[in-house]
């Protein structure tokens, strides 16, 4: 029972990080029907940018205000990079065949990943300990303050995003553009700015996710983007890609699943089990758990 509760806590923490990153994938996919392969590397980049902000701007001092500043500055920088990425690599390919945009996304991924390597070097960097190591023992389960912060902040961000998408005019524009871009354009929605907006939101959420990953695991490498990006993308697919609550659900489920696999079965086979789960879900429900069951347009 203790193992169960412990893995539940770990799973929810990992899951909320997956969910934050998955939102970036799912929003871009929803509107552009494009797997933004560069998103995972953006997440990795945000960890390094956070490290840079900490050492260069804050002069290696960690106060509460400083930590908040790291999050905001990093998110702003990543949002700018995200919008630039879309302008340069994706917008010219809006009308090109699907696969051309996929190759462009893979190219962008290589550029960002190797850009990190060229700037910060190929070796692992250790992210500073910005959150005090406080642990609570709750009925035999050890919960760290970091885990609580990650979980609470992620939930707040996700609820805020959900309300933004469902209740505001801009959110309605995003929903309309992901249903039908041409019809949305005819209704007077500026799809170009909607796409810029989702890159701003997606990249900022990814930046928060990346900083959480850096704070939680501490070791950051230039190529960690593929690993976390792939998991987050699987989370988005499990939930039904293009579906925002789906990405949150998928992230949480995947986090719990991988925590329980590592806890009860074996951590060396965690990837294999995750992909088997994905393949199983796709065979039973080809559009994911919350995806609409639409007949395929060809």
């Amino acid at each position: 029972m203790d193992t169960f509760l412990q893995q539940l806590a770990n799973g929810l923490t990992i899951g909320s990080m997956f969910a934050l990153v998955a939102l970036g994938y799912t929003m871009v996919y929803g509107v552009m029907k494009l797997i933004n392969f560069a998103h995972g590397d953006m997440v990795a980049a945000s960890a390094f940018v956070g490290l840079m902000v900490y050492t260069q701007i804050l002069g290696q001092t960690a106060s509460l205000v400083g930590v908040v500043a790291i999050f905001f500055i990093t998110a702003a920088i990543m949002a700018c990079i995200g919008v630039t990425l879309e302008r340069v690599a994706y917008r010219p390919l809006r009308t090109a065949p699907r696969l051309s945009a996929v190759v462009s996304a893979l190219g962008a991924s290589l550029v960002i990943q190797n850009g990190i390597m060229l700037i910060w070097g190929p070796r692992m960097r250790i992210f500073p300990e910005l959150v005090p190591q406080v642990y609570w023992h709750v009925g035999g389960v050890i919960i760290s303050m970091m885990q609580v912060i990650i979980l609470v902040l992620s939930l707040i961000l996700m609820v805020a995003l959900y309300l933004f998408i469902e209740k505001t005019r801009m959110g309605a524009a995003i929903r309309a553009s992901s249903l039908d871009q041409d019809a949305a354009r005819l209704m007077g929605i500026n799809v170009d700015s909607v796409i810029s907006l989702i890159f701003i939101i997606g990249s900022s959420l990814g930046a928060v996710g990346g900083l959480f990953i850096a704070l939680y695991y501490r070791g950051i490498t230039f190529d960690m983007g593929w690993q976390y990006g792939l998991y987050a993308f699987i989370a988005a697919i499990i939930g039904g890609i293009g579906n925002i609550p789906g990405a949150m659900l998928g992230g949480m489920l995947l986090g719990l699943f991988s925590a329980f696999i590592s806890g009860y079965v074996s951590s060396t086979w965690a990837d294999a089990f995750t992909f088997m789960l994905l393949i199983g879900i796709l065979i039973v429900r080809p559009t994911g758990l919350l995806g609409e069951r639409v007949a395929e347009k060809v």
Partner: protein, 318 residues
């Protein structure tokens, strides 16, 4: 145009046939690598370019062939050439088994599932399943090629083995274009629904394309294991699959385009070795730039006799 391409192919093949005699051993090794990776990229082209399935796990089939050869040679003392049928059949069977439940998935989902297969495959190799894969270090110390008990120690022998595999692959590709299967795959890629409605068994042909691509990649894997007389999981990582995927699309899924892509991706870095840390950074930019300037690839494939003005750019939405 037709004459030009025939002339081009024959000049290319003639140059390739005498190439190793003009190179020192380092460049011979590069030439072998070029030929092997060309075969893998062409096999990827069958699945991705010809059948239009977004397969991002081709390195897995390549690795299966290589590991089949390595395991049979090192643990069971099969001569290298005798492992060829197994190196082909294992990926073919696995390809059929894996493809059957997933070929109906739409493009992007198929892509992620094939990425998954590749990652599971690497995990199987690293965790040394069944105790025959050698774990993270792989298997090394394979024998030399031998024909009738006569050992061929020179690299040139490996080159000609690779070259023979390339010739076979090119012959398959050229015949595929003219055959019923090739026409079916082409139709399938352009419009699956219409293909289905005129009686093409889409599922069967898709699985066939997977099996064919897997088999050819497996054969290339056998040559790869022979060249290095070793195999290790790094050679078949998912990043390799990404490279093959990109080569086919950047090249334009035509034979010259794919060969050009392999040349740029694997031979140019050997020439510009001092810039090796910049390699993928530059390639990334090149991929973006190529797609913006030529969305259908550097050397786009043409099919049959359809005049150019009749081929409509399709947006392939949803």
């Amino acid at each position: 145009m037709k004459k030009l391409s025939v002339a081009g192919i024959s000049i290319f093949l003639m140059v390739m046939a005498v190439l190793p005699h003009f190179l020192d051993s380092r460049w011979q090794a590069v030439a072998i690598t070029f030929v092997i990776f060309s075969v893998v990229a062409l096999s990827q082209d069958i699945i991705l370019g010809k059948a239009g399935m977004f397969n991002m796990g081709q390195a897995m089939f390549f690795g299966m062939g290589a590991y089949a050869t390595a395991i049979l040679n090192s643990h069971y003392n099969w001569p290298l050439l005798a492992t060829i049928p197994v190196a082909i059949l294992v990926p073919v069977c696995v390809g059929i088994l894996l493809a059957a439940p997933i070929v109906h998935l739409r493009g992007d989902y198929l892509l992620v599932v094939t990425i998954g297969f590749n990652i599971v495959f690497i995990q199987v190799l690293v965790n040394n399943l069944g105790g025959v894969t050698g774990g993270p270090n792989g298997i090394f110390g394979l024998e030399y090629l031998s024909i009738f008990g006569h050992e061929l120690r020179s690299q040139v022998a490996v080159y000609y083995l690779a070259f023979a595999v390339l010739l076979l692959t090119l012959a398959i590709m050229l015949n595929l274009e003219k055959s019923k299967v090739g026409r079916a795959l082409h139709y399938l890629r352009e419009d699956p629904l219409a293909a289905e409605s005129i009686g093409i068994n889409t599922k069967l042909y898709k699985i066939f394309a997977f099996a064919l691509g897997a088999g050819i990649a497996g054969l290339a894997g056998m040559v790869y294991a022979t060249q290095y007389s070793a195999v290790s999981p790094e050679g078949f990582e998912f990043i390799q699959s990404v490279l093959f995927f990109s080569i086919v699309l950047v090249g334009g899924s035509s034979i010259p385009g794919v060969l050009l892509g392999v040349f740029v991706m694997f031979v140019l870095p050997e020439i510009f070795r001092e810039f090796s840390t910049w390699r993928f950074f530059v390639f990334g930019f090149a991929m973006i730039l190529t797609m913006i300037l030529r969305p259908r690839g550097i050397w786009p494939a043409t099919f049959g006799k359809i005049p150019k003005y009749m081929i409509k750019e399709k947006s392939h939405g949803a």
